[in-house]
């Protein structure tokens, strides 16, 4: 918590802080995800900038009280630009011993630690593997600003005459905690009360109970004056406009809908559920009235196959999955490369290899996107940088796919998928249209004739008279598209397919950079590390270090401006949530001694980790 008191001499009742990181944690059944999202909304409405990180177990409902059943939700909100959900919580709300045990190590020293003592029962302590109650340790209060509250009991008291059973009443304690946090950060409560009403509209007795709990928590803060103070985070300076929160998966789904409209194409989404990509399917299934068809196939191969069939027939074919699904889809993607049909392939990367860490984030499928198919089988690859950027990235993927008649990979990851941020909602009219052009003229039609600039072949919808033709996965004659086993023809077709994808470099636009175009160190990133890298580079620049960063939205082809740009720096550092993938490409492509910084923990980089690595490589410069 970077704090700055308004009147340093006498402690005021309201302390102004620049940004705060709060983590709510408890049992899977404790409703921590709900608590987190409600608090997020309130912070957004208070015009703070923010970023969030939900973290829940792979188990659907792990047994209550166990360590592996702990669920958490972290939010970083502030009056400056917020790039990440924060390295370490300033405030930890722990609802039971297991959550306490798992999360305490992350709390910043001196941070606020709010504990629900009511859950520290003998049984829960045992489940968490505590021989003694850790709250009894004296040092705890010395290391943190410890606030012990029997939230369970206080909630029960508040609901005494609500008519609710103990079990149901117990479930309201997350709203009690939420109420307390609303008081601490002086959040507007009216809207929250309405929201609870709406959420539990079908069970008014629960709505009522949760409201009571919420109010009780709020009053508790007010009446006990816990810290003798509350905190205020000023509104951030944010571009004017209409805002909402989006997660990466939501933004992706919305982007797919928009892409269809911008391309003037029906959307066909073929997929098979898999964590953390399933929500894209779920959301799109709600948008059928937007000229969208969703198809839950029998497996990933059928998912991509159906999308290819739809693309062939004149739809925007889209498929989304995670690593294991990509491994299965590669043969069919290769077919689409050979057929030169548009296709958008979304990979919401998760921890691997194999089943790996299905609910955790990682960036380890980059090389697979580039090289995972047999034969020479180039596919353009784009990566999203932030949750809301998923929207723009998937639209860009669709634009390239239809313009160049090629499958396109759009890489997202578990962190983007579930993380959320405020998003200034664009007007459709502000987004450039890219209406698909179908060939209808039989005159001089060559199935593999090409646009001289883009090298794209023409898209023909079956149903068009006079253009009947046959295509398939066997190598084809470079004009007629008929089967050809000719040696030179094959060589040229391989070269042409490569040239077509390489030519997409002209679409890459400006480099996304932070800092001057020369210095001691350049940090090169891609994907979801954008926020953490940017924040770290800012911080280090402020310390007077000659560090800049460049962020790659295009992984294949690379932005043609990148090569020259790299030359301006003495060292190059490539942080990735993998064991070193982009770094290999940069080394091979530009023969630069780029160095990897690799974190393979199923978790995003902390800003501090990056700052540390930068500090080691870029000295403070005295002017």
């Amino acid at each position: 918590m970077e704090q700055q008191t308004t009147q340093p001499s006498s402690p005021p009742p309201i302390q102004v802080v620049e940004s705060v990181v709060i983590r709510f944690c408890g049992d899977s059944g404790d409703g921590m995800q709900l608590t987190g999202t409600e608090f997020t909304r309130a912070s957004a409405l208070a015009l703070n900038d923010l970023a969030t990180l939900p973290d829940f177990p792979a188990e659907i409902r792990a047994p209550a009280g166990t360590l592996f059943g702990v669920s958490g939700y972290q939010i970083n909100f502030g009056s400056q630009d917020i790039y990440t959900p924060g390295d370490q919580p300033d405030v930890l709300v722990a609802m039971n011993p297991a959550a306490f045990k798992v999360n305490l190590p992350d709390l910043v020293p001196g941070g606020i630690l709010i504990v629900n003592t009511g859950a520290f029962t003998a049984k829960n302590l045992e489940l968490a593997g505590y021989p003694h109650n850790p709250l009894d340790e004296e040092s705890l209060g010395q290391r943190y600003r410890l606030v012990k509250i029997d939230i369970s009991k206080l909630t029960a008291l508040a609901l005494e005459d609500s008519g609710l059973g103990t079990k149901d009443a117990g479930r309201c304690k997350n709203f009690w905690a939420l109420g307390l946090m609303f008081w601490m950060y002086q959040r507007e409560t009216e809207r929250e009360l309405r929201s609870i009403q709406e959420k539990f509209a079908k069970k008014p007795e629960l709505a009522d109970a949760n409201i009571r709990a919420f109010k009780a928590g709020y009053s508790y803060g007010e009446n006990t004056e816990m810290f003798g103070q509350t905190f205020h985070v000023r509104p951030a300076k944010i571009a004017p406009g209409l805002y909402r929160n989006v997660t990466g998966n939501s933004a992706t789904a919305l982007g797919v809908v928009c892409a269809g409209q911008l391309a003037n194409l029906p959307v066909f989404f073929g997929g098979y559920p898999i964590t953390p990509a399933s929500d894209i399917l779920h959301e799109l299934s709600n948008y059928l009235n937007y000229n969208v068809t969703t198809f839950q196939a029998e497996d990933e191969i059928a998912g991509v196959g159906s999308a290819i069939g739809a693309s062939y027939s004149g739809s925007l074919g889209v498929t989304a999955t995670s690593g294991p699904g990509i491994s299965l889809k590669q043969e069919a993607i290769g077919l689409a490369v050979m057929l030169e049909l548009p296709l958008v392939i979304i990979n919401v990367q998760r921890g691997g290899p194999s089943t790996g860490l299905p609910t955790k984030t990682e960036q380890a499928d980059l090389l697979q996107a580039l090289y995972g198919r047999h034969g020479e089988c180039p596919v353009p690859v784009l990566a999203a940088m932030t949750p809301s950027d998923c929207f723009h990235t998937v639209i860009e993927a669709a634009r390239i796919a239809t313009k160049y008649m090629t499958p396109v990979f759009m890489l997202s990851d578990g962190y983007l998928a579930n993380g959320s941020e405020p998003w200034r909602v664009p007007e459709m009219s502000s987004l450039p249209k890219f209406p698909a052009a179908f060939r209808t003229d039989p005159d001089g039609y060559m199935v593999y004739g090409r646009d001289p600039e883009t090298l794209a072949r023409a898209w023909v919808r079956p149903g068009t008279p006079g253009l009947e033709h046959r295509i398939g996965g066997i190598e084809k004659h470079q004009q007629t598209g008929n089967i050809s086993y000719d040696a030179d023809n094959h060589h040229q077709m391989v070269k042409t397919r490569a040239a077509k994808v390489a030519g997409i470099a002209r679409e890459a636009g400006e480099l996304i950079t932070c800092g001057p175009p020369e210095g001691d160190l350049l940090v090169v990133g891609w994907g979801s590390t954008y926020g953490a890298i940017t924040q770290a580079v800012h911080t280090m620049q402020k310390e007077g270090r000659k560090v800049s960063s460049v962020h790659l939205r295009w992984l294949n082809p690379l932005n043609p401006r990148l090569g020259p740009y790299l030359k301006g720096f003495k060292r190059i550092l490539v942080p990735e949530m993998n064991n070193g993938q982009l770094v290999r490409i940069l080394r091979s492509e530009f023969l630069v001694d780029a160095e990897g910084l690799n974190k393979i923990q199923g978790k995003p980089f902390k800003v501090s980790e990056l700052c540390h690595a930068i500090a080691e490589r870029a000295p403070k410069v005295q002017n």
């Binding site: 004017p240 928009c258 066909f268 069939g309 459709m428 068009t464 046959r470």
Partner: protein, 352 residues
């Protein structure tokens, strides 16, 4: 441009067989049964009255899957086993197209088995011609899931050990709504079955026994040979009793526990009156009857040829279209600007 321009004739001239012959020369072995199937398909195509451009032939990989190249329609030679997935994408996104699928016993029942059973249960409006030669042709002669037990092939020099599928049992077990069988050499019958398959809404599966003279010659000679045919083939006709034999004097009676048995038909001693012989009904809702037919195999039984099952269930693409329409009807045609602004939003005013 006048909208009442009369210069374009409204009625296109009827198509003929030749209109469906593409400019690619078939590359099958001399004598391959695929030639006959191709010829019959090209022959019946004009009867549907569907313009060429509205027809798509989709296939997987195999000798038989080269089929689309030879049809002068839209054609899509996909990858091994995946034709049903691609055909589903085509048909669901474009119900106006007539989609046929050509596939082999390996393509559809080995690597593609899963997609086959799923397209059947969904009842996507695809007309599937399954070329069953009981062998892998294109990869030069390994046994397939329909190869008989003990078959010696390149990969089974000691004889195969895998109990074969009965194609049509799998199909019926997977909820197939139109299930039929024919033979490459039975030209008239094959044409009739192709017509029937083409007319079906939902997935139509027509298994065609196809001779592969190179790797599995005479695989079906046990039923196609003239002298034996009448005794070994049961021609199914809707509403007619299940009788067969040169003199139509043998019939199928259903015994205890659903077990069919071959009996001699007649009024004499040891014979069974025609009234006790099962009468063929393609339309029985409960697929158990069709399943029973699918189990009949020579030498225990004659081999049934014809339409085993033909029931009506909404085609998948119709259900999809209807659901979309329902959503449009209840929610209105989607407005993306509204969608983007759905849920909780807030406005940051410009500072002035």
């Amino acid at each position: 441009m006048s909208t009442t321009d009369n210069s374009t004739p409204l009625v296109k001239p009827a198509l003929s067989r030749k209109d469906f012959v593409s400019n690619q020369e078939p590359r099958w072995c001399p004598g391959c049964g695929d030639y006959s199937i191709l010829a019959q398909v090209q022959k019946v195509m004009p009867d549907f009255g569907i313009p060429r451009e509205k027809i798509v032939f989709v296939s997987g990989i195999g000798c038989s899957s080269r089929f689309p190249y030879y049809m002068n329609t839209y054609g899509f030679h996909t990858i091994h086993g995946r034709a049903p997935t691609i055909a589903t994408g085509i048909k669901v996104s474009r119900p106006d197209l007539t989609v046929w699928m050509a596939t082999g016993d390996g393509d559809s029942l080995a690597i593609g088995g899963n997609h086959l059973i799923h397209i059947l249960r969904r009842n996507v409006g695809i007309k599937i011609i399954l070329f069953n030669n009981r062998i892998y042709g294109l990869t030069k002669g390994q046994y397939s899931p329909t190869s008989e037990l003990g078959k010696k092939t390149k990969s089974t020099p000691g004889g195969s050990l895998d109990h074969p599928f009965s194609t049509l049992s799998v199909v019926i077990g997977a909820e197939g709504t139109f299930v039929a069988r024919s033979i490459d050499t039975e030209l008239q019958h094959l044409q009739a079955m192709l017509k029937r398959a083409g007319d079906h809404k939902g997935t139509a599966l027509l298994e065609v026994y196809q001779n592969c003279p190179v790797f599995n010659d005479d695989a079906f000679v046990y039923i196609t040979e003239k002298t034996n045919k009448a005794d070994r083939v049961l021609y199914l006709e809707h509403g007619k009793p299940l009788v067969f034999g040169k003199d139509k004097n043998k019939g199928i009676r259903i015994g205890k526990n659903f077990t069919p048995e071959v009996v001699e038909v007649g009024e004499g001693p040891g014979q069974v009156p025609l009234s006790e012989i099962a009468v063929h009904d393609e339309t029985v809702e409960n697929p158990s009857y069709a399943f029973m037919l699918s189990r009949m195999e020579w030498p225990e039984f004659p081999v049934p040829i014809g339409v085993l099952r033909n029931v009506i269930r909404p085609a998948y693409e119709e259900l999809v279209a209807a659901q979309k329409e329902r959503m449009v009807a209840t929610r209105g045609q989607g407005n993306v600007d509204k969608l983007l602004r759905s849920g909780e939003t807030w406005v940051i005013e410009p500072e002035n």
